[in-house]
Symmetry: C2
DNA sequence: TCAGAGAATTATCGCGGGTTAGGTTCGACC
DNA sequence: GGTCGAACCTAACCCGCGATAATTCTCTGA
C-alpha cells in the first residue's frame, strides 16, 4: 500500500519506484494527535514539517474576539508547511479535527533529496504550487461566492482531493467535521451552514449525515457550484475510475 | 539605489554585498505593462517568473458571472510566482493596476543561485513563506472581519509592506487603486468601500483622496483593526524610522 | 474653456446571512 | 434504561452589506 503522500505527488511528476521508496522513507518519525488538539499552537517554534498520514487536520486562527477561521483543511498526504523552510514561529495553529497520525520531516532532508533527484524536486514544487492555488481559490470563495455555492464548491474540492489518495469514490466520502467547522472554514455561521445544507439536499445534489457525504448528483453539483478543477492541478491519470470527468488541466 | 526586491529580502536573511549584487543581477530582462492590462492572462503558459520593480499589480480572477476577486496585491519587490517552479498554465491573471515595470526571471537560475548560496536560499524561502502567510491573513479577513476592519487591516498591511521598500513613511503612502478595486480585494461592493472609508475618516484614522492615503493616527488604526504584524515576518531591522513600532516577530 | 469619461459620493431599498433561542437526535457512559 | 453533552435542526428577528441610481468630483484632451 503506497502512502497518500506518494499517491498525491504522482499527480505532479513522473515518479519511479525508487523515487517512491525514497519518499516513503521520509516518514520515519510517527506521531499521534487527538481530535481537537493542536499539533502546533500559535507562538510555537516548530522543529519539523508535518505530513498528515491519517485523519483530518486544519490550519486555523483564533481572533481576539473569539471567532475562529479555518484557513485550510489538511487531508492524508498533505504537508502543513512549505517543504523548504521551517517557520521561526507559528502565527496560527495546526489543529487535529479527528484523531491524526502524522510524520515529522526535516526540511534540510527534503531539500537535499530534491537537489539530488529532479523528479522529486518537481513533485515537491508541484505540491507547493497546488497548495498555494488551493488558498487562492479559498479567497475567491470567501470573497465572491454565496453560501450555498461555497459549500458546494468545497464539497467538490474535497471530493477530488480525497479521490486522489483513495479516500473517496463516486458515491461519496467520509466528512468528519462538524457544521460549525464547515462554517469556520467558509466564513459562515453554523446556522447558515445548516440552512445551506438543506438547500443542497433539496436540490438533490448531496446528503450529509452521520459524518458521511453522499454524492447524489456530482456533475450537477459541479455545474451549480461553478467548479473548475483546473486549480487543483491534478493530471487526472491515476484516477482509476474512468467514469469521473478528468480535469482539463493537461489539455490547456 | 538598491532594488525593492533586495530591500525586502533583507528582512528574511543576512545578505552580504555580494549576495545583493547577485540578486540584482537577476533583473536583466525588463518589461513594461500598461495600467489595467494583463501581464499574464488565465490560460497562458508562463515562460518566466514575474518580479515587480515599479508600480502596483495584482493576482485576480474573473468569475463566470463577471464578478472579480483580487487575490493578492503585488508591490515593488514582489515575486508573483513561487521561485522554484513555473506553473504549466495560469488559472488566474496577473494584472497591472498602474503602469508597471517588471523583470522576467528564470526559475532554474533562481534555484541554481539558491543551491550555491545559502543566504540567498534562506531569503527566497523566507519570501515564499511570507507570501503564503499574507494569503492566510487574507482568508481570515474575508472570513471573519467586518468591512471597516478589513479596510483598516489592509491599510496597515500595505503600509508596512511599502515602508520596507521605502515607499511609505509615517504620514501615509500612495494608494493608486480605485475603490472598486479595494472592494474586489476585500469581497465588498464599491459602494460599501466608500461607506467604510467615510467611517474610518470620521474616526480620525485615515484620509484617502487623490490616490494618496494619509495616516492620521496609525496606532489607533492598528488597534482598531486588530492588526498584528507578526504574519508579515519582518524582522524590523531596516525600518530606518525609529518612531515606528517594531513588529514583535523576533521576540516571540 | 468645454466636453466626456471614469471615479467618488450619497440615498434608498431589499436581501443574505448573523444572532438568538429553542427543540431534537445521537452517542458515550454509567 | 437513564443521563448527559455535543451536534444537529428550525424559526423569528435583525443588521451588514449589495444593488441601483442619481449627483458630484476629477482628470484628460480637444
Amino acid at each position: 500500500m503506497t502512502s497518500p503522500f506518494v499517491r498525491k505527488l504522482r499527480q505532479g511528476a513522473q515518479l519511479s519506484t525508487e523515487d517512491e521508496i525514497l519518499l516513503m522513507g521520509l516518514s520515519r518519525s510517527l506521531h499521534y494527535a487527538e481530535a481537537r488538539h493542536d499539533i502546533y499552537s500559535e507562538g510555537d517554534r516548530p522543529g519539523s514539517l508535518t505530513l498528515i498520514l491519517k485523519g483530518w487536520a486544519c490550519r486555523d486562527k483564533i481572533l481576539e474576539n473569539g471567532q475562529r477561521q479555518i484557513i485550510a483543511f489538511f487531508l492524508p498526504g498533505d504537508l502543513c508547511e512549505p517543504f523548504g523552510i521551517l517557520p521561526p514561529f507559528m502565527n496560527h495553529s495546526i489543529t487535529a479535527l479527528t484523531p491524526v497520525t502524522y510524520a515529522r520531516l526535516r526540511p534540510d532532508e527534503l531539500r537535499a533529496m530534491a537537489q539530488e533527484n529532479s523528479s522529486i524536486e518537481q513533485a515537491l514544487w508541484w505540491d507547493a504550487l497546488a497548495a498555494m492555488e488551493l488558498q487562492h481559490e479559498h479567497v475567491v470563495s470567501l470573497g465572491r461566492r454565496q453560501a450555498v455555492e461555497r459549500l458546494g464548491h468545497l464539497f467538490c474540492e474535497l471530493h477530488m482531493r480525497l479521490a486522489v489518495v483513495g479516500l473517496a469514490d463516486r458515491t461519496g466520502f467520509s466528512l468528519p467535521v462538524t457544521q460549525q467547522e464547515l462554517g469556520d472554514a467558509l466564513g459562515l455561521s453554523a446556522v447558515h451552514v445548516n440552512r445551506s445544507l438543506r438547500e443542497l439536499r433539496s436540490l438533490g445534489f448531496v446528503n450529509l449525515r452521520h459524518r458521511r457525504l453522499d454524492l447524489l448528483d456530482l456533475n450537477a453539483l459541479k455545474e451549480f457550484s461553478l467548479f473548475d478543477p483546473a486549480y487543483l492541478r491534478f493530471n487526472g491519470q491515476p484516477l482509476h475510475d474512468g467514469a469521473w470527468s478528468a480535469p482539463s488541466a493537461v489539455e490547456r
